[in-house]
Structures are given as structure tokens and as C-alpha cells.
């Protein structure tokens, strides 16, 4: 049957093509898609840049220091006369900070998130949520100074029986980093909980579930992928935090120690300090910056692969 043309369609007169239509928007749509795809692909470029900027100095580093010594050695003293390049001490320093920070921020952050999403009145939420977001922006330098000048002395006064040998404490630095990431964890996981459809909440309440049960058994599992993402983001912030540790953790000593109360160095603080220090470029010591950077990068990579698996496993579909 004859189809007369669609408005603005040249092909519409063709009775065989009742569906042909304004193709004009087509190009626009394609162009937009290409632009958006480029935006997304840009991130790959960034990663490539990071890898490239790390890889050459790292290769040069491992030309002089065996990989095994780097990864397994227990003394980190690149700038010493008897130089030693065992990275474990600063890896352990980083781990202490991360574990401490998570121990502080996950319970506090999730508690805040659940409270805000499920308990708080909208008025409270309207005040507290933005406040958390402002706090998220507290400069890390400020938190470092606070940890060093306030928290650490206070901790010694409160718990004099612990071995506070130095004005520094890696543990206190970890607690401060924990404080720093609380808003992040809280805010991201609150978003996840709030985006759980209201129908689920209603359904659970209608079964006589208490708020606690609704929060923990329905909302929490439904939002778990977002919550894991929040914790992963927090973890990576903790691993990557430089300034707080630079100020409040000192640099410890080159040997492998697990002293929570004492001074120690982390990987990022080492990079930050050394890169702005007086080390001359082209030396092995200078190259350690990149080797440590590469290690950090690989560690976060591995962590993320694991996290992505977890998120995928827990992602719940609704609607």
C-alpha cells in the first residue's frame, strides 16, 4: 500500500519503506556517541600515561637492584651509605595505616550512612549530609597537623602505658586518615542505600520488621555493591594518603617493625618526601620513587580486581 512521505523524509515515498524516517538526527546522534566514547576512552590514555611515566625509571631501577631484594628485603634504606632496598618496611607502614583507617572509618561511616538513610528525619539529613560533604574537603594538611599536634599528645595522656617513644605514631596517623575517609564512606554508601527502591522498604515494614531489621536485612544487602564500592574507595584513599602520614607518622627507621605507637614510613610518604627532597636525579635513590610508585600502582590494581569481582558478585538487581 502506498505510504505517503513522512514529514521531512525523503525516502518516505517509497512504499517499501514505511519505516524510513528523518535521518537528519542520525548524524548528530552518532557524533554525540563518538564524543562520549572519547570521554570514556580518555581514561585509558591516563592510565597509559601513568604506566609510561613509571615504567622506564622502574626498569632502570631493577637494572641495578634485583627484584627479589626489593620485594623481600626487610630494610628500607635507599639513601644510606650501606644502601638497602627492601621495600617491606614501607609496605607494612602502608598496611598499618590502611587497616587502622578502615577500622575507624568503616564502622563509623556505615553507621552514619544507615542512620542518615533510614533513621534520620529529612531535616536532619538535609543538614548532616552536606556537612559531611564539607568535611570531606577538609584539607589533608590540616588533618595531618591536627594528628601531630593534638591527637598524638592527647593519646599519650589518655593511654600513658603504651610505648609512645617518639612524637610520631603511625597508628595515630592511621586514625587520622580514618577520620579523613569517614565522610567519603558515609556519603557514598548513604547514596547507595537511598537509591534502594521505596517499595522494598515498604514491603519489609509491612511484614512487621523493625527499623533495624529493615536496615540490616533488606536495605544493606540491596545496597551492598554500592557499600563495597564505598569501602574500596576509602581503602584507596587510605593507601594513597600522603600529607597526613608525611606530617604525623615521621619516617620511622629502615627496619621492619610493627610498632603501632611508633614512627614509620609509608610508600606514599616516601615518594612525596623524596621527590621534594635533595636527592639528585639519575641516581638509584631517585629511581626508587618510581619503583615504589609502580609497586603502589600494582597493589591498587590487584586490590581493585578483587573488589570488582566482589561487587559483581553482590550486585543485586531491582525494578
Amino acid at each position: 500500500m502506498a505510504d505517503s512521505s513522512m514529514a521531512a523524509s525523503t525516502a518516505g515515498a517509497n512504499p517499501r519503506r514505511p519505516l524510513a524516517g528523518a535521518g537528519t538526527s542520525h548524524w548528530g546522534e552518532k557524533l554525540i556517541k563518538v564524543f562520549l566514547a572519547l570521554c570514556a576512552a580518555f581514561s585509558v590514555l591516563v592510565t597509559t600515561g601513568i604506566v609510561l611515566s613509571l615504567v622506564f625509571p622502574t626498569i632502570s631501577f631493577f637494572g641495578q637492584i634485583p627484584l627479589a631484594e626489593f620485594l623481600l628485603g626487610t630494610t628500607w634504606a635507599p639513601a644510606f651509605a650501606q644502601a638497602s632496598f627492601g621495600v617491606l618496611p614501607i609496605v607494612v607502614g602502608t598496611l598499618i595505616v590502611v587497616v587502622t583507617a578502615l577500622a575507624v572509618s568503616v564502622p563509623i561511616g556505615l553507621a552514619s550512612a544507615i542512620y542518615l538513610s533510614e533513621y534520620a528525619s529529612s531535616r536532619v539529613r538535609k543538614v548532616v549530609k552536606p556537612a559531611l560533604e564539607v568535611l570531606e574537603g577538609i584539607p589533608t594538611v590540616a588533618i595531618g597537623l591536627f594528628a601531630f599536634f593534638f591527637m598524638r599528645p592527647l593519646a599519650e595522656q589518655l593511654f600513658p602505658f603504651f610505648p609512645w617513644d617518639t612524637p610520631f605514631s603511625i597508628g595515630i596517623a592511621g586514625v587520622a586518615v580514618g577520620l579523613l575517609i569517614v565522610p567519603l564512606v558515609a556519603s557514598v554508601s548513604e547514596d547507595a542505600m537511598r537509591s534502594v527502591p521505596a517499595g522494598l522498604r515498604e514491603g519489609a515494614y509491612a511484614l512487621g520488621a523493625s527499623k533495624m531489621r529493615v536496615s540490616m536485612r533488606v536495605i544493606f544487602p540491596a545496597a551492598i555493591s554500592g557499600i563495597i564500592a564505598a569501602v574500596v574507595l576509602g581503602t584507596s584513599r587510605a593507601i594513597g594518603e600522603t600529607m597526613v602520614v608525611l606530617i604525623a607518622a615521621g619516617a620511622g627507621n629502615p627496619n621492619l617493625t610493627f610498632n603501632w605507637f611508633g614512627s614509620a614510613q609509608t610508600m606514599t610518604a616516601y615518594i612525596g618526601g623524596t621527590a621534594t627532597g635533595d636527592i639528585s636525579q639519575g641516581t638509584v635513590v631517585y629511581d626508587t620513587i618510581f619503583a615504589v610508585g609502580a609497586l603502589l600502582f600494582s597493589m591498587t590494581l590487584v586490590m581493585n580486581i578483587i573488589a570488582t569481582r566482589l561487587v559483581r558478585r553482590f550486585r543485586e538487581v531491582y525494578e
Binding site: T75, A77, P78, A79, F80, A81, Q82, A83, F148, D165, T166, P167, F168, L246, I247, A249, G250, A251, G252, N253, P254, N255, G262, S263, Q265, A269, G273, T274, A275, T276, G277, D278, I279, S280, Q281, G282, T283, V285, Y286
Partner: protein
């Protein structure tokens, strides 16, 4: 990129100089250059001086890349860095702009007042096994002899660390490994020593001067008797081996412009005011004339 593009139409010493001068380098010397820059700009508002503190090494990298005009340094330029500069066709000269002293500080209650270089070496040396004051030969520690000491040192990437290890232990970076590294912030060493009767640390002059009575800088005996780390003793060279110079490296390329030359001369001529403000020790007359000559020869 970088500096060097100041236009020199203003003529010498006048108030009409203009252009940009970029300085980078050591964070120890940085505050000194800042004071110099600030004072200089007051008189020459047309000149814009920026002082970065990427560290001596990072600074040399930029300096030899032609990105900066001058480099603050708390140590001498290394072989690698010289090569870099040569590659870029930049010839540089070390100009001493101030004197500094490393102070070995202890708690004010510590009975020790004076220490020999050898005793310092016994404490800080790479093979040291000393853990109490009493372990150190000839140290008059009195009641504190049996107390274990705590040691603080600055970041191993700092010029202060290099200088101290070389002066006391004979080799850069040669030091026992079980002391506490305080990293970037020398104030932390003051805080540490202040709060611990058995602590010892070494810090730059400005830090222990500012701390006042909170800590006690020890006199150093390098064979000629105990010497206090005072301004006069450092200038006269009596405070050895922990007195040191602080440097600005300038390049021939940078000194092609009048503003840079004027600034360097200003830096030297006003040494007394600049160093006092920044908490360092002024140049001696001899050092000043050497510096002036160096500037002269580089810029011609």
C-alpha cells in the same frame, strides 16, 4: 619554558628593573631566598621573583633544563647534575649566600653539655652498638648514664642528613639505621627532644634558635675545645665540623639579564639583614667579596 626572559632595559641598580626570576631548590635555603626576593621586590616592583622548593635534586633538574634561573642548594651539585647542565649548555657557579650550622640538641635537663666528634660518631656511626649514654666513651652523663637514648634525624633525602653523616661518620649516608627518621618536618625533632629527657637530634640552626630554652644545643669539641654553635663561632669557622654554607647556584644564561644580576648582588650585599630575618648566619666579608666576584665573572 622557564625564566630568563627578563628585559633588561632598566639599567643597573635602578628602580626600573623588570622581568621574572624563577628560583627553585632546597627547602632549607628556600626561606632565605624568599626573604631576599621579598626585600628585593620592595625596591624593584617591576621584577617578579618566585621561589619554589622542589628540593635540591628536583631543583637542579629544572635548573639544568633551563626552566629556572637559580637553584637553592644545601649541598654541592652532583656529577650527574653537572653533566645534565653541560648537556643543556648551561654553565653554573656555586655562590655561598649564608652560613648554617647543624646543632646537636638534647633535653635541657640532660647533664651533657659538650660532645666530641668521636663521641658523636660512637653514637651515630653505622656500626654503633651504643644504646645508653654510658656506652659512649668519655661522655660525662652523670645520673643519666644508664638511660637509653632516643635518636632523631631528618629525612634521608635531605641535605642536612647528607651533611651530618659526612661530617660525623665520614661518608654521606653512613649512619646507624635504628634511629627515628622524622621525615620532612624539622620541628618534629624539636618536639621530640623537648618531650624526652634522653633524646638527641641534629637540626639546622634556625630550628634550635627558634626553640630557645626548650632544647639544649651541645657544644662540639673537634679537638680545639668545646665550641658553642653561635653566630660568631660559625662565621669564624670555629664550630666545626657542623658549620656549613648554604648555596645558590646561578647560571650564565640567567645572569645575562640585569634583573638577575641585580638580585644576586642584592642577595650578597644585604646578607646581614636577609640571614637574620630567615634565621641563618650572615656571610663573612671574605665570603661576600668572593661571591661578588663570582657574579661578576658569570654575568660577563
Amino acid at each position: 619554558g622557564g625564566g630568563g626572559e627578563a628585559d633588561s632595559s632598566g639599567g643597573e641598580g635602578g628602580g626600573e628593573l623588570s622581568g621574572q626570576i624563577q628560583i627553585d631548590g632546597s627547602s632549607t635555603v628556600g626561606p632565605l631566598s624568599e626573604v631576599a626576593a621579598e626585600l628585593f621586590m620592595e625596591q624593584n616592583p617591576g621584577v617578579q621573583i618566585s621561589v619554589a622548593m622542589s628540593g635540591t635534586g628536583g631543583g637542579f633538574e629544572r635548573f639544568c633544563n633551563g626552566e629556572t634561573d637559580m637553584n637553592d642548594a644545601s649541598r654541592e651539585i652532583s656529577e650527574e647534575e653537572i653533566a645534565l647542565c653541560e648537556e643543556a649548555g648551561i654553565s653554573q657557579e656555586r655562590i655561598t649566600v649564608a652560613n648554617d650550622a647543624l646543632g646537636v640538641i638534647v633535653h635541657p635537663d640532660n647533664p651533657i653539655d659538650c660532645i666530641t666528634v668521636d663521641q658523636l660518631n660512637q653514637i651515630w656511626g653505622p656500626d654503633s652498638s651504643a644504646t645508653t649514654w654510658g656506652d659512649v666513651e668519655g661522655l660525662e652523663a652523670g645520673d643519666a648514664a644508664d638511660s637509653e637514648f632516643t635518636l632523631y634525624g631528618p629525612g634521608t633525602d635531605s641535605g642536612t642528613f647528607d651533611y651530618f653523616t659526612e661530617a660525623v661518620n665520614g661518608e654521606e649516608g653512613s649512619i646507624r639505621t635504628d634511629y627515628t627518621d622524622i621525615g620532612e618536618d624539622d620541628n618534629a625533632a624539636i618536639t621530640g627532644v623537648e618531650g624526652d629527657a634522653n633524646a638527641m637530634a641534629f637540626v639546622p640552626y634556625s630550628y634550635f634558635m627558634e626553640a630557645g630554652d626548650a632544647v639544649k644545643p651541645l657544644q662540639i669539641d673537634s679537638g680545639d675545645g668545646c665550641t658553642e654553635p653561635t653566630l660568631e663561632n660559625v662565621q669564624s669557622g670555629a664550630y666545626t665540623p657542623l658549620g656549613r654554607g648554604l648555596y645558590v647556584y646561578a647560571s650564565d644564561v640567567a645572569l645575562e639579564n640585569q634583573a638577575s644580576v641585580a638580585f644576586m648582588n642584592f642577595y650578597i650585599e644585604n646578607s646581614a639583614e636577609i640571614t637574620e630575618t630567615a634565621g641563618f648566619i650572615p656571610l663573612t666579608d671574605e665570603q661576600m667579596s668572593t661571591a661578588t666576584e663570582q657574579i661578576e665573572s658569570l654575568s660577563s
